[in-house]
Symmetry: C2
Subunit: 132 residues, 2 copies
DNA sequence: CTCAGTGCAAAGGATTTGCATGCCG
DNA sequence: CGGCATGCAAATCCTTTGCACTGAG
């Protein structure tokens, strides 16, 4: 890890802690709220560093808000359940059976499209208990 | 459809045609390139209308570019293969077996999270032939 | 002493909105 | 006529950058 990373400073530690504690992807706003006193720019900059270092991961969102979570190396392979109303994202681990089916599908996709497939992302869309 | 939509104007028709012809999700830039003479604001505005009308759909992307495609009502249920380098998105239809497994998983997710699940999204990440 | 890290403020880029005008019904 | 649609330009929103300063090795 030290191979890529520069220094594991207080700010970065704080970011990782925040993500760890949340156990689900967080927006910048949520992160800033949880790590009082950190300027946006530092949050963005360090999050970028963490992503490059393979510690964190940025994920796409329906709304235009960037969300961050710990890399799967640290959190384990999982998928997401997304509320169409408030955008909240919750983690979810798929069954082995489903994962196997997905792997198989990857091979198929590679054959059919010529892409070199490196992974998959599975999201469930719905409405969370709060927004129902 | 007329229930939600206002008017099916030339601009909107052009947008739908462009998406239809492409057969894959397009960015705003790609759309503007294909529909010469349309101002960005009109493209955005009409795309929004089309999305509200259930004719089109906006999808999340790793890069910050919004991509649009026709709704599944028109294009059929499918998934995406995304190039990590250039961001190009290609459509892909999953096997019945996989779809069944996904449906089953939806039920499981609903139980475990309390969400009301309305659908799923499956993306394969990789590198396209051009970027390899 | 040197270089990475930090904050602030300014810059960027994609998307949205206000407003006046044009056109369909 | 009345209301939606359209263009243009200005405004927003999230995110990235430039720059000068501080801190660790």
């Amino acid at each position: 890890m030290a191979a890529v990373d520069q220094r594991y400073t207080a700010s970065r530690r704080a970011l990782v802690q925040a993500l760890l504690k949340a156990g689900r992807p967080l927006t910048i706003s949520e992160i800033l709220a949880g790590v009082a006193g950190m300027p946006q720019s530092s949050a963005y900059r360090n999050l970028t560093v963490l992503c490059d270092a393979g510690v964190a991961r940025r994920l796409p969102g329906m709304d235009d808000l960037g969300r961050f979570e710990l890399a799967e190396d640290l959190s384990g392979h999982h998928h997401h359940v997304i509320c169409a109303d408030c955008g909240t994202v919750v983690d979810f681990a798929a069954s082995d059976r489903l994962e196997r089916a997905l792997l198989e599908a990857s091979r198929l996709v590679a054959e059919q499209t010529g892409f070199d497939i490196s992974g998959h992302r599975l999201d469930f869309d719905g409405r969370c208990p709060n927004c129902s």
